[in-house]
């Protein structure tokens, strides 16, 4: 059976972005650059609905 692994790859990429954003947010907080913290926190939150959207789109792809 041939499957589409596009969703898996896309979601892996989203998770990579999540890790980067979390790391950047925490580091910016340490260096007291609070605008950057807010930016990356918002990015991280926005990535979650994107992940859900990718999941629903790719769920039934054969």
């Amino acid at each position: 059976m041939k499957r589409s692994y596009r969703g898996v790859i896309l979601l892996c990429f989203v998770l990579l972005l999540n890790i980067i954003c979390t790391q950047q947010a925490v580091n910016s907080y340490f260096y007291e650059r609070y605008e950057r913290v807010v930016l990356f926190a918002v990015l991280n939150i926005v990535l979650f609905p994107i992940a859900i959207w990718i999941y629903f789109r790719e769920r039934d792809v054969k």
Binding site: R3, Y5, G7, V8, L11, C12, V14, L15, N18, I19, C21, T22, A25, V26, S28, Y29, E32, Y34, E35, V37, V38, F40, A41, V42, N44, I45, L47, F48, I50, A51, I52, I54, Y55, E58, R59
Partner: protein, 189 residues
């Protein structure tokens, strides 16, 4: 005793055949300790669900940092103190220091003139055991006499002795030839 052996033999005969009766028993896989159906399978859809869940966890985990940053940006965390005149700029010679109290009347502080236009002020309770720190012009650094603690006058950071934390800096502003204290930087724990 004899009765027992007899009964055991009877039980042996009556028992139905199990895998364990043959030692070692035959097994073509090693899944006999897995209870749930499909427990060993992680299919494409399950993996994608896991990734979405992880994205959600990451999103939630940055919320506290974002909230703290917003708090800092909105200035909720910093206390504001009234402006207080400390000295006329020319009354204090270069290399001299005066004591004052800011923001409260029991919060001793030290104003040092380092250069023509370079003033530094710190709350001068030593961060070790609260002894009053004084300005040593000869040594060019702030000295705590109690346990020989030394602080860098430019940054307030401890350079030697028992204190580990910097002195809280008093924020200064110069207006019309006078030095004003306008706030205190946060005490770093």
């Amino acid at each position: 005793m004899g009765e027992d052996i007899k009964n055991n033999k009877k039980a042996d005969i009556n028992r139905t055949k199990h895998n364990n009766d043959k030692i070692p028993f035959e097994e073509n896989n090693y899944t006999h300790n897995i209870r749930k159906a499909g427990e060993r399978r992680l299919d494409r859809r399950g993996f994608m669900k896991t990734m979405v869940g992880a994205a959600g966890i990451f999103a939630v985990s940055t919320l506290p940092w974002g909230a703290l940053a917003v708090k800092e940006l909105s200035g909720l965390g910093s206390k504001s103190h009234p402006k207080q005149k400390l000295a006329n700029a020319n009354d204090l010679k270069i290399g001299e220091a005066i004591e004052f109290a800011y923001p409260g009347e029991h919060d001793a502080a030290l104003l040092v003139r380092l250069g023509e236009n370079e003033y530094k002020a710190y709350q001068n309770a030593c961060t070790h055991l609260k002894c009053p720190v004084f300005w040593s012009k000869e040594e060019g650094r702030l000295v705590c006499p109690c346990h020989h603690g030394f602080f860098d006058v430019k940054t307030g950071k401890p350079t030697a002795g028992p204190p580990q934390r910097p002195l809280p800096e008093v924020v200064l502003s110069k207006e019309q030839g006078a030095i004003y204290a306008t706030g205190v930087k946060r005490y770093e724990t």
